[in-house]
Structures are given as structure tokens and as C-alpha cells.
Amino acid sequence: MAEASEGAIRGWQHPSGTGVRQHLLVIPSVICAAQAALTIVDGDPSAVAIEHQHGCSQLGGDAHLTEQVLTGLGIHPNVAGTLVVSLGCETVQGVALHRSIVGRGQRAEFVGIQQAGGTGAAVRAGREALQRLRSGAASDAQVALDWADLCVGVEGAWLGVPPGQARVFLEVIGELCRAGATVIQAASTAGVDANDWWEQATRQVPGPRVRPGTLSYATRPDGAGVYLMEAPPSRIAQKTGLAAAGAHVILSPLASGLPAGCPVAPVAHVGIAPYARPFAEDVDVMLDENPQEHAAAAVLDAIVAACRTATPLEAIGVFEMAIHRIGPTM
């Protein structure tokens, strides 16, 4: 793993932690504020807005989940500064979200559309707020990162692919552990004991054995190690949960659906053949039906590359982000 050792990855020391990007993040606290958030970042390559469909007319569990995920994204270590855009009357209170992000040490600003006096005024105020965040972030120190400084999120789709391909992912996880990285594996364990579930899931897969700890959805781990994070089967929900849990980079096996990036964390796509063959141009590594010996190394290289430079999907701005729904919207 020579590529990733001894400071090969450039990072920045943000108030929220050490990260591999310098994004300014704009978070609408409710769907009704999303358009203003998008307009604020339009034409600004240093800023990205999150879109989601939540925050309004939600019952307790969903409202809480929305706040938890949005806070997790707002304090993400790749994010140099966060702007919360609120409407004013929604259930997930924008002011409370901003306060909780600030409370966790992040550099953050707040704009309320109703308070500012409408979309036009909010967009102007938002752009000024981004400028202040940008100035603050300019003094964030550059640092050299090693695997031990990184948290890699892994989506769960590889657990359903044939053992020959699945073993590559197990090998990658094993290598990351050995190098001291933190790994969060998203999985839909449905309340079953984590280690039993992991044993079951990886029984047929040749490769190193690891014993994961557990995390609930969108929760930061306390320290280094391998963790199983409870998540719904939906890939978008897993990506969002991994990001909210602080993953610097996300490993996404493409066995169904379309490749998509994540607004706060670069995504390394591993295409699972035969499904992913049409996406040969879009994925970073294509895993054949019978992968070669160097496949795991290629995947690790792809993770490093994603940390180092903007991925093609980041460049064309194809992201996916969603907060999964627990109950019905009211």
C-alpha cells in the first residue's frame, strides 16, 4: 500500500476536523429552502448545496432523523464551512440546526428566507455569508494525511455479489484495518446481532476475518476500527448515512442503479461485472466476474485517487443524497 502511506494525501485542518476537501456546504433545513440554497451556490465552484425532500410535515422519528443527518453533514470533516438556509416555519428548525452545527465546533452561518425578506434578499445574504466562510477557511492549515487519519465508508451492495468478487472487498477492508484506517460498513442488519450478522454475511467469502463494532445510522464512531452501521437497503440512504457519520471517502460497489457522487465526500466506484459493464467510462475500477490478484490493490488506489483529486462525477455534479423515510409524511 505504498501509494497511500507517508503523507501522499493532502488534507486541510478545518474546525470540524481534518478532511480531503475544502467544500463550503449549503444546507437547506427544509425542502422549501432548497431552491434558494441552489441559487446561492450557482456558479460558485467552491460551494455545494445539499438537496433533500424533508423537514416539513414530518412526524417525530423522521424529523429527528432529518436533523441528525443534516447536522452530521454540516460538521463533516471535508467541509470548511456550512451555511444553513432556513425558511422559518418548518419543523426541523433552521436556527436549531445552525446552533447544533456551531455547537459541534464547525464554522457556520445562517440565513432565514422569511427573516431576510424573501428569496432575493436571502440569496444576497447567503452569498455574503459564503464569502465570510471562505475568508475564514483560507487560514485552515494544509496537512499530510495517512490511512490512519482517514475514515472510509463502504456501501453494502458487495455483500450480495458472488463470493469471487465479494472477497475483493473483504480484502480491501482487511488492508484498510491493517493500515489503521477507520472503516464504516453500511449494512441492513435488521436488528440482528452485528457479529452474528457479519459472520453469516461473509461466511462464503474467502479472505481476512475482521470483527466489527456497531454504529447506529448516521452516527460518528468514537475511535478507529471497523464498524457495522445499521442502514436501510437503499444505496442512497447508505451513502447519506456514511457521509453523515463522517466518512472522508465512500467506496461504492455498482451492482445496480446508476453511479452517483456525494456532495460532501468523494466516491470511488467499483463496477461489478456483468451489470456495470455499460458504466465502464464512469467507474474507477471494473471488477470482472473472476477478479485478478491485483484487484484489491486497484480498489485501494481508486480510494486514494478519489481523495486526492475531484472525481469525474464531482466535476459534472451528479450527486445523490436523500434522507430515507421512516413514516408517512403528514
Binding site: 422549501c32 431552491q35 410535515s57 418548518e90 424573501g118 455499460p278 465502464a280 403528514m330
Partner: protein, 393 residues
């Protein structure tokens, strides 16, 4: 004025107030591609988070299919380009084309990945843009209009100024042979006895009770206190005390005419006149449901000021008070607060709203359209928790 200028659409689709070309992702993961290919082309698009998963209920799939097909075939849409991830997802193309709608499709896995899909999508978009550009408006009776009514960010004045004034406008439209939709079932809780009294038949009255009680049961079944979400903190700060008070104020926007029918979410009415649509109170989901049913124009009252609109339907924003109308003037089209100042009566304000509906239907842009609002969210089937094994499919 008995006639207005609208776009004629083939078959039963009726008449459109706009002539959009829409790029519609059929699943969440296609949203990014839809946006990337539509930007800068003059086409409009929406994005959403709907993802089918293994445990997806048939009733949910049907609801979503009804919504997507209805949205794609709304008469304001001159042509639609669907974006699917895989070939299996493209089953909606045929039902959409069967309505007479001009439709094409991009399947990302068949187009050579994301960038291939963006290129192919643009190539398929150009002919749709060219064809629709040739459409022009024709005279048709006002009865061709279906108005969606909505309220969001309500305050205590919603039920006193803007909603009753909108009700007056709704009555004018219905008297002219048109259709108006009253929705937000959760926000009618507490007003059902009032509405049932105005039902055209006992069966319609029963439907009104049924949909409202069903939503109440859903909330209870989730062990949640409906007051947790409704009235929202902003409503309470504005003076609304109970959900009944908020509901009575909301129901006022339905005016006073007879309720002809209760329709399901995104369901197209079989009749003209005033209809009630079973929908959640969530602003965006409700709007999408009414648009999918065929509304060409929407009127949206707001107390505290909410900026949302729709990618394909003009949404007229009516403030309940002058304070909000001034503060949020970027987003507000009409000010019903003038009633409080003695400058307008309910009747004259209602007439103003009706005139605005006709003007907007004929091309005048609303503030939400100028600002590019395109909020879109699909309501999931909410009643699974109530279905017993014998009733579920």
C-alpha cells in the same frame, strides 16, 4: 370574459396554460442525469428521492406510477423526456404515450453510462424542443381550467383573509364551469362535518369522513401525536391554537360550492366543480398530487411566506397580510392583507384573485416561475400500517 387562450392538447388531456418540455427522472438515481442534461437547454426538469426497494408495496408502486404519469401528461407539458436507469424502469413510457403525449426516453445503462446518457438525452431533447415551439394558444372556455388550491406557512390570518378570498375566486371558477381542487387531508381534520354537509351525495359525504378518519388512524397507529407536526411551531407563534382551528381556516379556501367528488392522490377528477383530493399536508407533495391530476394553475395562500412553486404549473402566491407581502415581495404575487386595511373586501379581493388566475393561465409569469422554483416530491402510500393481510395486495 368567457374565453381564454390556452394550448390545445391531443385526446383527453385538455388545455395547457404553459408549453413546457419536461425532463423527468423515473427514479432518484436518474435525477442527477436529468439535471445535467436539461440545464441550459430551455427544458425544465425535476429531481426527487423515489427509489424502489425490495419491500416496495404494490400500492406504493401504483401511487407513484399514477403520479409520474399524471405529471408527465399534465396539459402544461408539451413534451416529456423520461430518464430511466435500466430498461425495466421504462414501463411508464407506453402509458404516457397512450394519452397522446409526446414522449421519449433515455435509459442510462443502454446509453453508455452517465456521460453517454447526458449526450443521448440532449440529442433526444432537441426534437422535442423544436416540435413544441410550434404550438400556439387558442380560444377556449374558462371551464377548461382546473385550479389547485393550497395553503402553507399558515398563520391565524390565513383563515380570515387569503383563504376566504381564494374561496370567492374558486366559486367564480366553478360557476364558470371550471374545476377546483381542495386537498391536504391532514389539514382538514376537525372540519370534516362542515365539508360533509356540502357533499353532492351521501356517498361523497361518506368519502370525506373516510379519508379524514383514515389519516387520523395512520398518525395514531404510528404512536405519534398529530399535534407534533400540526400546527407547526410557526403556526402556533402566529396565533393558531389547535388543528381544528387551522383546518377550518384552511377549508375556507374551498369556497362555498357543492363538493362533487373525493379523488385519490394524483387522481384525475371525473367531474368539474369542487373536488377534494386525499393528500398529505406536506406542501410539495400536495402540489405534485394536484398537478398530476391535471391542474394547470395553482393558487397558494401563505401567512409567513413560503417561496415554493412547481416546475410545470404557475403557482400564484397570496399573502395573508401586508407585512409578509412587503417583506417577501420577491415571492408574493397578491396581498390579501389589503382586506384588513379596508382597501379591499373579501368580494373584491376574490375577484382580483380570479382575474389573476385567468391572466396567469394565459401566460403571465408568477414570482415563483421567475425565480425558477421547481420543488418536487412524491407522496408514498401512507396507509400500509392500517392494511390487514386481508386488505393488502
Amino acid at each position: 370574459m368567457g374565453e381564454i387562450l390556452l394550448y390545445r392538447r391531443p385526446g383527453a388531456r385538455g388545455w395547457g396554460a404553459r408549453n413546457h418540455v419536461l425532463v423527468l427522472p423515473l427514479v432518484a438515481s436518474a435525477s442527477g442525469v436529468a439535471r445535467a442534461l436539461a440545464r441550459g437547454t430551455g427544458a425544465t426538469w425535476v429531481e426527487h428521492d423515489y427509489e424502489p426497494t425490495a419491500d416496495n408495496l404494490p400500492r406504493n408502486r401504483e401511487r407513484i406510477a399514477l403520479t409520474l404519469v399524471g405529471f408527465a401528461t399534465n396539459p402544461n407539458v408539451g413534451a416529456v423526456l423520461l430518464v430511466a436507469d435500466t430498461p425495466e424502469r421504462s414501463v411508464l413510457l407506453e402509458p404516457i404515450r397512450a394519452t397522446g403525449q409526446q414522449a421519449d426516453l433515455v435509459v442510462v445503462t443502454e446509453a453508455g453510462g452517465l456521460r453517454g446518457a447526458i449526450e443521448q438525452g440532449r440529442a433526444r431533447l432537441w426534437p422535442l424542443l423544436t416540435k413544441t415551439a410550434a404550438a400556439s394558444r387558442e380560444r377556449t372556455p374558462v371551464a377548461a381550467l382546473m385550479l389547485g388550491t393550497e395553503c402553507g406557512g399558515s398563520d391565524a390570518l390565513s383563515g380570515i383573509t387569503a383563504n376566504p378570498a381564494l374561496g370567492v375566486a374558486s366559486d367564480h371558477l366553478i360557476d364558470a364551469g371550471g374545476t377546483a381542487v381542495l386537498a391536504e387531508t391532514t389539514e382538514l381534520i376537525g372540519a370534516e362535518h362542515l365539508l360533509a354537509r356540502r357533499a353532492a351525495t351521501p356517498a361523497v359525504a361518506e368519502d370525506i369522513y373516510q379519508i379524514i378518519h383514515r389519516y387520523e388512524a395512520v398518525v395514531l397507529a404510528h404512536g405519534e401525536d398529530i399535534r407534533g407536526a400540526n400546527p407547526a411551531p410557526g403556526n402556533i407563534e402566529g396565533g393558531l391554537t389547535t388543528i381544528e382551528e387551522k383546518s377550518l381556516g384552511g377549508a375556507k379556501k374551498g369556497g362555498t360550492r357543492t363538493i362533487q367528488q373525493v379523488v385519490e392522490y394524483a387522481g384525475r377528477p371525473a367531474t368539474s366543480g369542487l373536488v377534494i383530493m386525499d393528500s398529505p399536508g406536506n406542501d410539495i407533495e400536495q402540489m405534485v398530487g394536484m398537478v398530476a391530476a391535471g391542474c394547470q394553475v395553482a393558487a397558494f395562500t401563505t401567512g409567513r411566506g413560503t417561496p415554493t412553486g412547481s416546475a410545470i404549473v404557475p403557482v400564484i402566491k397570496i399573502a395573508t397580510n401586508s407585512h409578509t407581502a412587503t417583506r417577501m415581495q420577491d415571492n408574493i404575487d397578491l396581498n390579501a392583507g389589503l382586506i384588513l386595511e379596508g382597501a379591499e373586501t373579501l368580494e373584491t379581493m376574490g375577484r382580483r384573485i380570479y382575474d389573476a388566475i385567468l391572466a396567469v393561465a394565459q401566460g403571465e409569469l408568477t414570482k415563483a416561475e421567475r425565480l425558477g422554483h421547481r420543488e418536487f416530491s412524491i407522496s408514498r402510500y401512507p396507509f400500509a400500517v392500517l392494511d390487514t393481510p386481508t386488505t393488502a395486495r
